[in-house]
C-alpha cells in the first residue's frame, strides 16, 4: 500500500515515521506528516489532479503554493466540505478525503472535454456574440451554462466549525517568513519591539526550505532557519503566526490576517476554532512576501507534468518527492539550473535544459555543462504531446530577436517539465496599501515604488534576488522599523552567505509557433480560466485594450488563483499586441483578499444567537410567565399580547383594550428611548430640535415634541420633561432611540458646538410601567401613599418624584391612550418588583397587562400617530393635522425652511384621515392602497394607503387611518380599496374615533 514510488530516500523534512493514509477520488494513498496533499500525490506519481474551468482540459500540479491555478480539489465530506481548495496548501492528515472537481463522470474521462474539441467556436467572449436567438431562449441556454460553469460544490448544511476574531496592535508587523522576513523579525525582536511575524505556510522559512544549495554562516539554510526560529521563539514580545495569510491591507496600517488554527478539515468539537481573523494595527509594516515564478507561454503548456521550476525544487528538497522519471527543464533564467543541480544530486534523470537564452553563462551554467547535462541554449519548446501526462516535447532554435523558430526540430521524451519564465514580486499587499508600482525593464516585472503608508518592502517582493541581499535587507528593515517605533538596539551582524550568482533572463512572452500557418494548439496564459495568448490578441483586436477590458472580456486573472501566475504575462502580451509595453498598459487594481478567504471567518461569532443581540426589559420574566406573545421591535422583544387559554388573538386584544378604558391597563413601556439632557443651553437646544417652543417649559412640566429632518419630514416624537433646572428627560420611539441620540450629537458637534449641552442614553437605566384607566389613580395612591395625586397637585403633563411600592421613582403623568395615565420609572433592577407590586395591588381592579397590539388600538381610537407607521419619511406635521405643534413664532428649528417650500404648502398633499368601511367587523389590511376611480384591472391611480387598521372594541367596529392625497377635503366622501380578490368601500372621516366630545382629560 505505502508505495510512494517517487519518494526520494533521506531527503526533505517530512516525518517518515508518521505515514498518513488519505483518499483521493476513492483510492487510498499514503503520505507522510509534513506533506501537503500535492506533495503526497506527487510522491505517489500523481500529477493529474483537476480539470480546467472552460475547456475541461486535464491539469496537473503547477506550483507549490498559493498561486496554484490547477490543482483545486473538494476536501472532506458532508457539511464540513471545502470546494476549490488548492492541493498545494492542504496539510496532509490521516483520513483526509479528497475528490477532484468540475468533471463528469470522472477525472480521467470528462464529458466537459467536448468544450476543448469545440474550442474553435468558443474564443474569449464568445457568449457575448451568441445565445441571442430565439430571443426568449437565453434562460434555457443559461441553465446549461450555469451547470457547466462553477467549480466545486458547496456544503449542503450549516458549517460545523467555529471562527473567531481578535484584535492586536504591534510595533512591527512582518508579512512573510522567508529569509528576508525572518531576519527582519530577528533584528526588530532584538530591540524588544512588539513584533508579529506571519507566514502563510505551515512552516516558516520560505525559500530556505527548498533552496538548500546555499549556506549561511557555515550552516545549511535549514539549520539557520531552525536557529533563527529558536531565537525568535525565545523573545517574549515576538508573536509567530504560521498558516496565517495577510489577506487585506487597509488604511492607517490596518491589516487583516487569517490564521488557520486547526488545519484539519472537520473540527466538529464545539470548542475548537478553525480559523481566526486577526485585525491588527501596526506602527510599521515590513512586507517580505517573496516572489512568484512565471510560467512560460508555449504551445499546449498546460499538460499534467508541467510545473514551475522552483516548485519542482521545493517538492524535491522540502518534501523529498521526485517529480518524475525523466525531467526536462525549460527556462529563460538561471532558476532551472538550480533545480537541475538538485535533481542531479538525487540521481533523477534529466532529459535536458532548454534555455531561451542564446548564450547562458555563469557558475550554475558551468556546473551543468560540467555534469554533462544536455543543454539547448537559444532553443524553445514549440509543442508538447501527452493527454493525461506530458510525454514528449519538440524543440527548435530561436532566431536572434526571438520572433521565430528556425532550423530542424528535435523531439525529446520526458514525463515532466520544470519551467521558469522569471519572477513576479508579490506586490499585492503593497498595492492594496495604496502604494504605486513601477515597471522594471530589466527583469520585466512590477516593483514597489512609492509607499503611502509606513511600510517597507524587502527581499524578493522588492526585486532582491540573492539570499545574502535578502538577509541584509531584512536585518536593516527590521532594525529601522523597530527604531521608528521607539525601540532601541543594534541589529545583528550580517551573516556570511555562500550561494551561486544568478544572471539575467531573456523575456519572450509567447514562444513562436513551429509553423506560422498552422494555428492549432493553445498557448495558455491563465490556466484556471483557460485564457490563451490568442484570446488576449483577440480582445485587443476587438477594442478591449485596457487591462480592465482585457480582464473582463477574457476573464483573465478572475479565477480563484486571482491571476497570480498569469497577470503580468497577460499585460506583457497585451502590450506586445498593441505595440506598446506593459508599463503603458498599467495593471488592474489589487484588492483584498490576497488569497481567497473563508467567509465564515469574516462573519466570525456574529451569527446565530449572536448575530444581533435581543434586548429584553426588566419585566420580561413576568411577560413570559403570563404567556405573552412577543414581537420584535428593532432589537427589543416586546410583549405583543397576553392570550388566555382558548382565546383568539382578537379576543385577547379586545379584552386588553377594554380593560384599559374600563378599569386599569398595565403596559411595559421600558423600551422607549430615553435620553438624559443637561446643560445651560439644554432648553435652547431642544428649541432648535423640536418644532414647538421649549424655552418657557417650567421645571416639573412635560411637553410632547416632534422632531423633523432637514427636509421637513417627521423623524421622531416623544415627551420631554423638564426635571429641574437645565436637566431634561427626553423620550423617543423604541426604534428611534439610537438614531435620535446620533442626531442630537451630530447637530451639537457639527453645527452648534457653542451650546452647553450633554446627552446620555438612559434607555436601559429605567424600567417603565405605564398604568392607565379610570382606576389607576386609586391604585397608585395605594402604592405611593405619600404622594398627592390629585389633579391640582399632579396635573396632566407633569412629573413627580417619590416612592412607589417602596421604590424611588419618577412618575410622569402623561398618556398615550387619552385615559388618565401614569408612567412610573424606576431603576431597571427594581422593574420586576414594581411590576409585581402593581399586579398584586391591582388585582381588585382587575388590572390587565396589555401588549403593544392593544397599545396601538388604544392610541388609534384617539387618533394618535405612531412615527414609522403613520409616517414614512415623507410626512410633515401638517400632513398629520398637527399644525398646532409647529411654532409660527420661533426664529428657526430643524426643518422650518423646508416646510415653507412650494410643494409643502399644496393642499393636495397626502394627509392623515380616518376611514370607516361599510362592514363594521372587517379590518382592512394595513398597507392597502386607496383609489378614487376604480378600474376593472391595474394599472389604476392610487391616492394613498392605510397606515393603521384595527378592530376597536370601544367603538364596536373596525377603524383605520390613512394618508390620502388631499385627504382633509375628502372627509365625508367615499373611496375604494381594490384588494386582489375584492374591493372595500370606505368613508373618509377625521381621525378621532372615540371620545368625540373630548371628555377624556389626558390627551
Amino acid at each position: 500500500m505505502n508505495k510512494q514510488l517517487f519518494r526520494v530516500k533521506d531527503l526533505g523534512q517530512v516525518d517518515r515515521s508518521k505515514p498518513l493514509r488519505f483518499k483521493f477520488d476513492g483510492k487510498f494513498f499514503v503520505g507522510y506528516r509534513g506533506d501537503t496533499l500535492a506533495s503526497a500525490l506527487l510522491a505517489n506519481g500523481i500529477h493529474l489532479v483537476g480539470r480546467s474551468f472552460k475547456y475541461h482540459r486535464p491539469r496537473g500540479i503547477l506550483s507549490a503554493g498559493a498561486e496554484e491555478p490547477n490543482a483545486l480539489v473538494q476536501v472532506g465530506e458532508g457539511n464540513g466540505t471545502d470546494p476549490n481548495t488548492r492541493a498545494t496548501q492542504i496539510k496532509l492528515e490521516d483520513g483526509l478525503i479528497v475528490k477532484s472537481q468540475n468533471r463528469w463522470p470522472s477525472l480521467l474521462l470528462d464529458l466537459g472535454y467536448i468544450n476543448n474539441l469545440l474550442h474553435r467556436l468558443l474564443p474569449a467572449g464568445f457568449y457575448y456574440k451568441t445565445f441571442m436567438w430565439p430571443s426568449s431562449w437565453w434562460m434555457r441556454y443559461e441553465y446549461w451554462i450555469r451547470r457547466i460553469a462553477g467549480l466545486g460544490e458547496a456544503p449542503k448544511g450549516a458549517d460545523p466549525d467555529r471562527y473567531e476574531k481578535t484584535h492586536a496592535h504591534c510595533d512591527v508587523l512582518i508579512v512573510g517568513g522567508g529569509p528576508a522576513g525572518l531576519s527582519a523579525a530577528l533584528a526588530a525582536g532584538k530591540t524588544g519591539a512588539r513584533v508579529v511575524l506571519v507566514d502563510e505556510q505551515d512552516s516558516f522559512g520560505g525559500s530556505l526550505n527548498s533552496n538548500t544549495d546555499c549556506t549561511v554562516d557555515e550552516h545549511t539554510t535549514l539549520d539557520w532557519r531552525k536557529r533563527t526560529l529558536a531565537i525568535l521563539e525565545g523573545m517574549p514580545e515576538v508573536i509567530l503566526l504560521n498558516r496565517t495569510v495577510a489577506t487585506g491591507y487597509y488604511d492607517h496600517n490596518f491589516l487583516t490576517l487569517l490564521e488557520t488554527v486547526s488545519p484539519g478539515q472537520q473540527n466538529q468539537s464545539e470548542y475548537k476554532t478553525r480559523q481566526r481573523l486577526w485585525k491588527i494595527r501596526a506602527k510599521r509594516v515590513v512586507l517580505a512576501t517573496g516572489a512568484l515564478e512565471r510560467p512560460l507561454v508555449f504551445k499546449d503548456n498546460d499538460r499534467p507534468g508541467i510545473m514551475l521550476s522552483a516548485s519542482m525544487r521545493a517538492y524535491l528538497n522540502q518534501y523529498g518527492v521526485s517529480p518524475g522519471n525523466r525531467v526536462l527543464l525549460f527556462t529563460n533564467n538561471d532558476d532551472a539550473y538550480r533545480t537541475a543541480i538538485s535533481l542531479k544530486e538525487n540521481n533523477i534523470p534529466i532529459a535536458g535544459i532548454v534555455d531561451l537564452r542564446e548564450d547562458p553563462t555563469g557558475e550554475l551554467v558551468d556546473r551543468i555543462r560540467h555534469e554533462g547535462i544536455a543543454l539547448y541554449p537559444g532553443y524553445a519548446i514549440v509543442s508538447t504531446t501527452g493527454h493525461l501526462r506530458i510525454k514528449s516535447v519538440r524543440i527548435m532554435k530561436l532566431n536572434d530577436d526571438g520572433t521565430k523558430v528556425i532550423g530542424n526540430a528535435k523531439d525529446i521524451t520526458c514525463d515532466c517539465i520544470g519551467m521558469s519564465g522569471g519572477w513576479n514580486p508579490t506586490v499585492h499587499l503593497f498595492s492594496q496599501s495604496g502604494g504605486k508600482l513601477e515597471w522594471d525593464d530589466k527583469f520585466e516585472r512590477f516593483l514597489p515604488k512609492i509607499a503611502n503608508q509606513p511600510l517597507i518592502s524587502i527581499g524578493a517582493c522588492n526585486g532582491t534576488q540573492s539570499l545574502s541581499d535578502c538577509l541584509k535587507d531584512g536585518l536593516k528593515a527590521g532594525a529601522e522599523s523597530a527604531r521608528a517605533t521607539n525601540n532601541k538596539g543594534r541589529a545583528p551582524g550580517t551573516p556570511r552567505v555562500v550561494e551561486s550568482k544568478c544572471n539575467d533572463e531573456r523575456a519572450i512572452w509567447i514562444i513562436p509557433r513551429e509553423n506560422s500557418y498552422k494555428k492549432n494548439g493553445k498557448y495558455f496564459v491563465d490556466f484556471q480560466n483557460d485564457v490563451t495568448a490568442s484570446d488576449i490578441s483577440l480582445a485587443a483586436r476587438e477594442g478591449y485594450r485596457s487591462v480592465e477590458h482585457l480582464k473582463r472580456y477574457t476573464t483573465m486573472g478572475m479565477g480563484t488563483d486571482q491571476g497570480k501566475t498569469s497577470n503580468v504575462t497577460a499585460l506583457a502580451i497585451l502590450g506586445e499586441t498593441l505595440g506598446t509595453t506593459a508599463p503603458n498598459i498599467g495593471h488592474t487594481t489589487f484588492r483584498p483578499p490576497y488569497t481567497p478567504a473563508t467567509i465564515g471567518a469574516y462573519a466570525g461569532r456574529n451569527v446565530g444567537a449572536l448575530f444581533d443581540p435581543i434586548r429584553t426589559t426588566a419585566m420580561h420574566e413576568h411577560h413570559e410567565e403570563f404567556g405573552a406573545k412577543f414581537e420584535h421591535v428593532s432589537q427589543w422583544m416586546r410583549a405583543w399580547y397576553y392570550p388566555k387559554p382558548n382565546e383568539t388573538m382578537q379576543q385577547t386584544i379586545n379584552r386588553e383594550v377594554k380593560a384599559a378604558r374600563d378599569s386599569i391597563g398595565l403596559l411595559d413601556a421600558s423600551t422607549l428611548g430615553k435620553i438624559d439632557i443637561k446643560g445651560l443651553d439644554a432648553a435652547e437646544f431642544l428649541n432648535r430640535i423640536y418644532t414647538n417652543s421649549w424655552l418657557k417649559l417650567a421645571p416639573g412640566k412635560a411637553r410632547y415634541g416632534l422632531m423633523l429632518k432637514e427636509d421637513g419630514m417627521v423623524m421622531d416624537d416623544g415627551v420631554t420633561t423638564h426635571l429641574n433646572s437645565n436637566h431634561y428627560h427626553m423620550t423617543t420611539t423604541t426604534g428611534g432611540a439610537a438614531s435620535v441620540l446620533d442626531w442630537l450629537e451630530e447637530w451639537h458637534q457639527t453645527e452648534w458646538p457653542d451650546l452647553d449641552v450633554y446627552f446620555t442614553s438612559v434607555t436601559e437605566h429605567w424600567a417603565v410601567a405605564s398604568i392607565c384607566g379610570p382606576n389607576c389613580r386609586s391604585l397608585l395612591a395605594e402604592l405611593a401613599p405619600e404622594l398627592d395625586l390629585s389633579d391640582e397637585a399632579f396635573p396632566f403633563m407633569t412629573v413627580k418624584e417619590g416612592d412607589v411600592a417602596g421604590i424611588a421613582a419618577r412618575i410622569f403623568r402623561i398618556s398615550f391612550t387619552g385615559e388618565l395615565s401614569f408612567e412610573i420609572n424606576v431603576p431597571r433592577r427594581y422593574g420586576l418588583a414594581l411590576w409585581q407590586a402593581l399586579i398584586e395591588k391591582g388585582e381588585k381592579y382587575d388590572i390587565c397587562p396589555y401588549g403593544t397590539e392593544a397599545m396601538h388600538v388604544l392610541r388609534a381610537e384617539k387618533g394618535f400617530i405612531i412615527v414609522g407607521q403613520e409616517t414614512d419619511g415623507t410626512v410633515t406635521p401638517h400632513d398629520l393635522g398637527m399644525d398646532w405643534i409647529v411654532s409660527k413664532t420661533k426664529h428657526d428649528f430643524i426643518g422650518k425652511r423646508a416646510l415653507s417650500r412650494s410643494d409643502m404648502l399644496k393642499s393636495d398633499r397626502k394627509q392623515l384621515v380616518g376611514l370607516l368601511n361599510e362592514n363594521e367587523n372587517e379590518v382592512i389590511p394595513e398597507g392597502s392602497q386607496i383609489v378614487e376611480m376604480l378600474q376593472p384591472s391595474p394599472p389604476m391611480a392610487m391616492i394613498g394607503h392605510i397606515t393603521s387598521s384595527y378592530y376597536s372594541p370601544n367603538c364596536n367596529r373596525s377603524i383605520a387611518m390613512a394618508l390620502i392625497k388631499g385627504g382633509k377635503a375628502r372627509i365625508g366622501k367615499t373611496l375604494h380599496i381594490p384588494l386582489k380578490n375584492k374591493t372595500i368601500k370606505v368613508k373618509v372621516t377625521d381621525t378621532l374615533f372615540l371620545d368625540k366630545n373630548k371628555e377624556l382629560t389626558d390627551g
Binding site: K129, A149, G150, P155, R541, S546, T598, Y602, R901
Partner: protein, 432 residues
C-alpha cells in the same frame, strides 16, 4: 507577434459591424477569429459636436445610443476620463427590478425593465439579462406590513409581484434557513419574477458598440476638466485633449457629479460614498434567485460563472476613493451566513468598491440645470445599474427636446427647491 492594432485611419467614420450570431462565430472560427471588426473605434475628438456626453458608463453610452437611434442625432461624442464602462457600471451587483413603491420610481424603473427585456436583440450583444426573479424577504411583523403596502402599490401600478410564505420561499431557495427561531426568521417575502440580473460589462460594451456603429465617437482617457459657458449657455467642454465645442452637453458621471457641477458653477445635493461588493469563489449552482433582505442586511445572487455575488449598505463616510472599510464586509458576510449557513465555508474571492452619488431622497436627478443646454443625470446612488436603459432613454429625450418627458419630469433638480421629494429610503434600506 508585434502587430499594433491601430485604427487611426478610421476616425470619424461610421463603422459597419458584423452581426454577432452563432453563424458569424462559426464563420470566423475558420480564420481563427482574426477578422472580427472592432467593437468600437478609438477616435480623436473632433473640434465640435452637436452633443457631448461626459461619462462613458452604461448610462452615458445608452444616452448617446438613444440620441442616435431615437432622435436621429449623429454628431455625438462620449468622453470619459478612463475606459468605457470603468466606473460603477462594472462595479455593481447587477440586480435588475422595477418593484418600487412610489409611482415616479415605478415609472422609470419599469420603463427600464421593459427595455432590458429586448436589449440583447436591440444591441446585437448578449447582455445576459436573466429574469431569475428578485425576492425581498420580510423578517418582522412590521416588515410584513410594509411589504403589503409595497406589494399592493406595485400591483396597482400594473407591475408583477407575488407574495410568498416561508415554505414557498424554501421551495424556491432550498439553501435558505427558514427556522422560525432565528434571530430574524424569514416570515415571508415578495418576488418580482421579471427581475433578475445581467452581465454588467456587456451592457456598457453593447451600448458602446451599437452607438459606435451609429457614428458616435467614444473618446476614452479624455477627462473633462471644465465647461465652456457663454452667457449662461454651455458651448462645449475643456478636456485633457483640449477644448471641444458642443451645442449640448449631458453629464452622467455618478460619483463625480458634484465635482463637475462645481466646475459648471452650481451645487448638487449629492453625497458621494463608497459602496462595496464582493464575490465568492465559483461553485456549482445553488441559488437561482436574487435574494434581498433589509433586516439581515445584505443581498446576494449567483452569477452564471458560479460566484456568489454579495452586497450590502454604503460606507458611512463620504469619499471619492473606490475602497471601503472592513466592517461593512464583516457585517455583510455575517448576514449572508445567518441567512445561508452553507455560505460559511465558501471563500471570498474578490472585493471592490465604487463611488455612489446619493441624493437626500435616494432618488436620481435627470434634469436641466441652471446652465442652458447643460443637462445632468446623476444621483442614482446604489440603484443605478438596473436603470441603465431607461435612464439613457429618457435622458436622450430630455437632451434632444430640452424638455423632460412624463417619466423624467419628477426627477428634476427643481424638486429640491419645491420640496417634491421622492423618498426611496424605505426602498433602499440596503443598497441594491
Amino acid at each position: 507577434m508585434k502587430k499594433p492594432a491601430s485604427n487611426q485611419g478610421m476616425q470619424g467614420l461610421r463603422s459597419e459591424k458584423e452581426k454577432y450570431s452563432i453563424f458569424s462565430l462559426a464563420r470566423n472560427s475558420l480564420t481563427y477569429h482574426e477578422n472580427w471588426s472592432q467593437a468600437w473605434r478609438s477616435p480623436e475628438p473632433k473640434s465640435e459636436y452637436d452633443t457631448i456626453i461626459i461619462g462613458a458608463g452604461g448610462h452615458g453610452l445608452a444616452t448617446a445610443y438613444y440620441l442616435a437611434s431615437q432622435h436621429g442625432m449623429r454628431n455625438i461624442a462620449v468622453v470619459d476620463k478612463g475606459w468605457l464602462g470603468g466606473g460603477n457600471t462594472g462595479r455593481n451587483t447587477t440586480i435588475i427590478r422595477s418593484n418600487y413603491m412610489w409611482d415616479e420610481s415605478a415609472g422609470i424603473y419599469e420603463h427600464s425593465l421593459k427595455l432590458w427585456e429586448k436589449l440583447s436583440q436591440e444591441l446585437n450583444f448578449n447582455t445576459m439579462f436573466s429574469q431569475r426573479g428578485v425576492l425581498t424577504l420580510a423578517h418582522t411583523e412590521h416588515e410584513l406590513k410594509e411589504m403589503n403596502r409595497r406589494v399592493e402599490a406595485i400591483r396597482l401600478n400594473g407591475i408583477d409581484s407575488e407574495v410568498l410564505n416561508p415554505n414557498q420561499i424554501k421551495k424556491l431557495v432550498p439553501i435558505i434557513d427558514i427556522n422560525p427561531r432565528l434571530r430574524y426568521p424569514v416570515m415571508g417575502g415578495f418576488i418580482q419574477r421579471r427581475g433578475g440580473t445581467a452581465r454588467h460589462d456587456a451592457v456598457a460594451w453593447g451600448y458602446a458598440r451599437a452607438a459606435d456603429s451609429l457614428g458616435v465617437d467614444i473618446i476614452q482617457n479624455c477627462e473633462a476638466t471644465g465647461f465652456i459657458i457663454e452667457k449662461g449657455t454651455v458651448k462645449g467642454i475643456q478636456t485633457a485633449k483640449g477644448p471641444i465645442r458642443a451645442k449640448k452637453v449631458g453629464c452622467v458621471v455618478s460619483g463625480h457629479a458634484g465635482v463637475l457641477a462645481n466646475l459648471a458653477g452650481f451645487r448638487l445635493p449629492i453625497d458621494s460614498r463608497p459602496l462595496q461588493a464582493l464575490v465568492s469563489e465559483p461553485i456549482k449552482p445553488i441559488l437561482d434567485t436574487v435574494i434581498m433582505s433589509n433586516s439581515v442586511h445584505m443581498y446576494v445572487s449567483q452569477s452564471d460563472k458560479g460566484e456568489m455575488v454579495f452586497g450590502a449598505g454604503v460606507d458611512s463616510y463620504n469619499s471619492y476613493a473606490q475602497r471601503g472599510s472592513l466592517n461593512i464586509i464583516e457585517g455583510m458576510l455575517a448576514a449572508a451566513v445567518e441567512l445561508f449557513p452553507v455560505f460559511s465555508r465558501l471563500r471570498m474571492l474578490r472585493s471592490w468598491g465604487g463611488v455612489v452619488d446619493t441624493c437626500p431622497d435616494a432618488s436620481p436627478i435627470i434634469s436641466k440645470t441652471p446652465i442652458d443646454n447643460l443637462y445632468f443625470n446623476c444621483g442614482w446612488g446604489t440603484g443605478g445599474f438596473k436603470a441603465t436603459p431607461g435612464s439613457g432613454h429618457v435622458f436622450a429625450d430630455l437632451i434632444a427636446k430640452d424638455e423632460p418627458n412624463l417619466i423624467s419630469a419628477p426627477f428634476s433638480l427643481n424638486r429640491f427647491i419645491s420640496g417634491y421629494l421622492i423618498d426611496e429610503h424605505g426602498a433602499a434600506g440596503v443598497a441594491h
